[in-house]
């Protein structure tokens, strides 16, 4: 049955709760928007509690507490406990920079189901360079031990790019050493800050091929020990990813000020208008928000997506990437070989990867 012919969208699976944009790191590929929200505008504890209640009622299964750095919020434990009491599977996405053992224990006690810790590089100098901060490797190594001491299941999240891809083998070993059950090898996605820094981040095709080989070998070597999630980066792919599992199909994101987004980068699409949890319930927004309905299902698709047999598999790929590279958010994602912009995208990647990397433009609160 087609999603668009059904009167109601399917219940969302996951909520990304972006508690704050504040962060001790300044990663040049940050997934937050270029214009960041200040603390004074953030939703308060009561508002987030209501969002969690409404999410659970709507059928959401998992809540990912993210940011920015969610540990900056003093009410994080309260919100985790509230999410758990609603029956939600609770996940913390953290840089681990400000973690203490006392805090790790408090998170576990609050009912946290799982923690995802980022690591920018296995080399101390690289880790600081890519995070735009100091002592990051030592602090994160300590944080991993604290999370494990609190008996929290751990995923290591490694955003990979031209500067650290050659350390992928060491990253895999580090995940095992940290006691992680899972490693996410996440290639940089190019919108927002990462698009600004694309030339400094774009890997070569040869780097990607070696990474794919490393992952394939490690998956066999570490079967039953470490699960590795890995996706080939878009610029070198021939099929687009089913971004967010389809726009408005499985996922919703509440940003620090309460705007409800179909994906965390959706604010890069200027034509969209977002509803806010201050004004409407999450259920009402999920069902009726013009931003969610704009690209939901397959009816909005032009060619080559419209007649494509994969249209309900990849849902046309990423809308933000389509806009960034073609100027049209409704175009086929250029990651698709059927897009007229596909060759151009591949050429951009090859040229940038072959050129000396420029300096990073680090993430800043004022967007500059």
């Amino acid at each position: 049955m087609s999603q668009v012919s059904s009167p109601l969208p399917p219940a969302p699976m996951a909520l990304l709760a972006e508690l704050t944009h504040r962060c001790p790191l300044a990663c040049p590929y940050c997934s937050n928007p270029l214009t960041l929200e200040h603390a004074a505008n953030e939703l308060d504890t009561a508002a987030w509690r209501r969002v969690l209640d409404e999410a659970a009622k709507l059928g959401v299964l998992q809540v990912h507490f993210s940011g920015g750095e969610p540990l900056i919020r003093k009410d994080l434990e309260t919100l985790i406990a509230h999410g758990a009491s609603c029956g939600l599977y609770t996940n913390l996405i953290t840089s681990g920079m400000a973690l203490t053992q006392r805090r790790a224990d408090a998170l576990a006690k609050a009912g946290l189901d799982h923690a995802q810790l980022s690591l920018q590089d296995t080399d101390a100098r690289g880790a600081d360079l890519f995070a735009g901060s100091k002592d990051t490797l030592a602090k994160k190594t300590a944080s991993a031990a604290m999370l494990r001491a609190a008996d929290l299941p751990l995923t290591l999240n490694a955003v990979m790019h031209r500067g650290n891809l050659n350390h992928l083998e060491a990253m895999i070993e580090t995940a095992v050493r940290f006691g992680a059950g899972r490693l996410e090898v996440a290639h940089v996605q190019y919108y927002g800050w990462a698009l600004r820094n694309r030339a400094a981040l774009m890997p070569t095709r040869a780097q990607i091929d070696r990474a794919t080989q490393s992952v394939t070998a490690a998956r066999a070597r570490l079967s039953g020990v470490l699960v590795i999630d890995y996706v080939v980066p878009d610029y070198y792919a021939s099929r687009p990813k089913a971004c967010m599992g389809g726009w408005g199909q499985r996922f919703l994101n509440v940003d620090p000020v309460g705007r409800v987004l179909p994906c965390h980068a959706a604010t890069t699409i200027p034509e969209l208008r977002f509803d806010n949890v201050h004004e409407k319930s999450l259920g009402e927004i999920w069902e009726n928000s013009s931003a969610f309905n704009r690209f939901r299902g397959a009816d909005w698709m032009p060619e080559p997506c419209r007649s494509c047999e994969r249209k309900e598999i990849d849902w046309g790929g990423c809308r933000c990437q389509a806009l960034a590279l073609t100027g049209n958010a409704a175009a086929a994602d250029p990651a698709c070989a059927l897009s007229p912009h596909h060759e151009e995208m591949f050429a951009i990647a090859q040229n940038e990867a072959a050129t000396e990397a420029p300096e990073f433009i680090y993430r800043r609160m004022d967007g500059e």
Partner: protein, 94 residues
């Protein structure tokens, strides 16, 4: 560290961070795991609900053979295949 593989004497349990629940909204049993959800059919739910880390696959399949009046060899072949897959994907530990 070396790969871990399943044997008939293994005693599986849900992996750390993996939770089984019945979802009222979807009227469906499922596993919630880090950033993943696995929908369970009736048989998988019955098998996994007995995986307490103490019962071996051998013993579990003996129980199932009696209850469902089916040959243990056939049940065991299916259960071993399912457990190997679940272990590789990180849903169970042994």
């Amino acid at each position: 560290m070396n790969a871990v593989s399943i044997a008939a004497t293994s005693c599986p349990a849900l992996a750390r961070g993996v939770k089984m629940r019945f979802d009222e909204a979807r009227q469906q049993w499922m596993l919630n795991a880090p950033e993943r959800v696995l929908m369970l059919d009736e048989i998988a739910q019955v098998i996994l609900s007995r995986c307490d880390g103490a019962i071996s696959i051998n013993a579990l399949c003996r129980e199932l053979a009696l209850e469902f009046a089916a040959p243990q060899e056939i049940i065991q072949a299916d259960v071993m295949e399912m457990m190997a897959d679940m272990l590789h994907r990180g849903f169970i530990r042994i």
